[in-house]
Symmetry: C2
Subunit: 352 residues, 2 copies
Amino acid sequence: MKAQKAHLKLCTRGGILQTMGNDNAKMNVINRSSRNVRAFISQEKLDVEAFITKYNGQSVDTLLPHSAIKKFCFRPDVPSYRILISENGALPWEKNQYISLFIEDEDDKEICIKHMRFPVFFYLLSVSLGFLCVMFVCLWSGTWRGGFAWDGSFLQFNWHPVLMVTSLVVMYGNAIVLYRVPLTWSRWWCKRAHAGLLFVAMVLSVLGVCAAFDFHTANNIPHLYSLHSWTGISTVALFTLQWFVGLCAFLLPWTPLAFRARLKPLHIWMGIAIFILSLITSLSGINEKLLLTLNGRNGSNTKPYTALPAEALFANSLGIAVVLFGLLVLKLLSSQKWKHPESENETDRVRV
Amino acid sequence: MKAQKAHLKLCTRGGILQTMGNDNAKMNVINRSSRNVRAFISQEKLDVEAFITKYNGQSVDTLLPHSAIKKFCFRPDVPSYRILISENGALPWEKNQYISLFIEDEDDKEICIKHMRFPVFFYLLSVSLGFLCVMFVCLWSGTWRGGFAWDGSFLQFNWHPVLMVTSLVVMYGNAIVLYRVPLTWSRWWCKRAHAGLLFVAMVLSVLGVCAAFDFHTANNIPHLYSLHSWTGISTVALFTLQWFVGLCAFLLPWTPLAFRARLKPLHIWMGIAIFILSLITSLSGINEKLLLTLNGRNGSNTKPYTALPAEALFANSLGIAVVLFGLLVLKLLSSQKWKHPESENETDRVRV
């Protein structure tokens, strides 16, 4: 069985250096001869001086082998204990830095699993609902609306709901909850999967917009007149902007860490705002499509929307599934407890 | 000048009792003879034993006058320091409880003001946007759509957008950010204002639904066929349920505190979900109304929606204002930093 990380944090809050971690981590510090202790270091500034010498008869080197200081992690929700360390020592690292120790510990796995039971349940539920949304929107366009083409006809427009729901709702939603689950992925891979999934979503959403614009042009329908189109085009524009800013700030290696750290809260908030805009746009879009196609005109044989034919029931259910998927994703995002332990700080490049 | 509260927290994290607060609070403990020290106590369970005897030569009674233990407050974002307290003492309160001290302190006012500059700006912006939304929806229905009546005609339907936007978006939004601003209100008044504002919103939203249903009945239009109506009726139903559950759980005095504390995260999450549902429903409703009325039929003299006449521009702008208002409210709610210091725990009735 692969060993899990336990967390033994050393921080300088209030001017007194201390370690925090669960009891397993504590025992592992004491009996660390058989364990792999790794120390991670951050650039987070603190306004107090840190100091450390002894813990329970052990020297600093036992707690913090210099060679292993690599990376920072902050995880405030793990059950913690505290060890006080006397004041008569010097720091083995720079002043005003925030320190964490990670200790390999099999028993800590249980804590991780217990902590992740709920988010994993919600995540699986949201993945299932996302799959249902894609299936429903494909069936609606593919079966009820006659299938797909790229010839300027209604069949071309059918790509629009499929591509928009798939990209801006389902793929986008899955990409933004990546930092919550699964826990075993490294931050490095989470970032790449997040950016990659969003890149595919961005391409598909632009294609979806093109499908609608081409259809309008071919049928002399003006572009961007409805409220749906106003919110929709804003969503796609903001999404594209957010993706490029995110790429430059968080993936290119030469971005200053201080800039990353300052941008991150805005990036997170914009990401959630764009997702809510996507939900708003999707629902008004499905409603608009049904009002425009099931109106007893256009030579359609179907019953009008007001009579709630099977297609209307089906597409309304798609709308409800989209809402439920969206609320589940927002639920997953809302919990501070389910954050990745390593995703708190922008320190990928700090390798001391 | 009225003195503000500074925070001196005593907590049992890791089995060692300690106080946390800013430097002003620390000084005020030391020189407390001229200050009004109040201790607040919670029912939060911790899995360690707490102990306290001395701080800097002062006795427990100096730090925690028994008579004043009243209420709990937890505010992790206030700049903090820590005092360690030796182990050879007994607790003046129950084991496994979480303790906070509040100290009157004029200097701390500056910290509060600095902390609240951003939320106050966002709050004023959201109030202005909310006012704009109400004004726009009244003008749309009152002027562009011919005014109001309660006679089963289109003029009766005009009440629907006005009442729904006013109640479920603007009043609801203002009611849910009450716990963020203004800081000078007591929790007791925040609760009552929150419940009262939501009660008025609930009554208005039910009236708004009645306006639409009556109009449908008078004009032989089926009820609840569109996706807008499905999300709308769900929103109003969930809102009504949430209000009654909230009343029973958080305002009636005989509800067990443990039940309150367990329900609170769900209550908060449901509140936000209902607000997002309101935004989704409003946007699809405005879009639907424009598609149904500006369709070149119904003997209307106006240009169709596709030609984007002045009314369409106006109502689309209303939709954008609603979205911006909603995102601002969600921004205000999202920040942990802007939480009321006293709103963390359900301890209104704990007066020891």
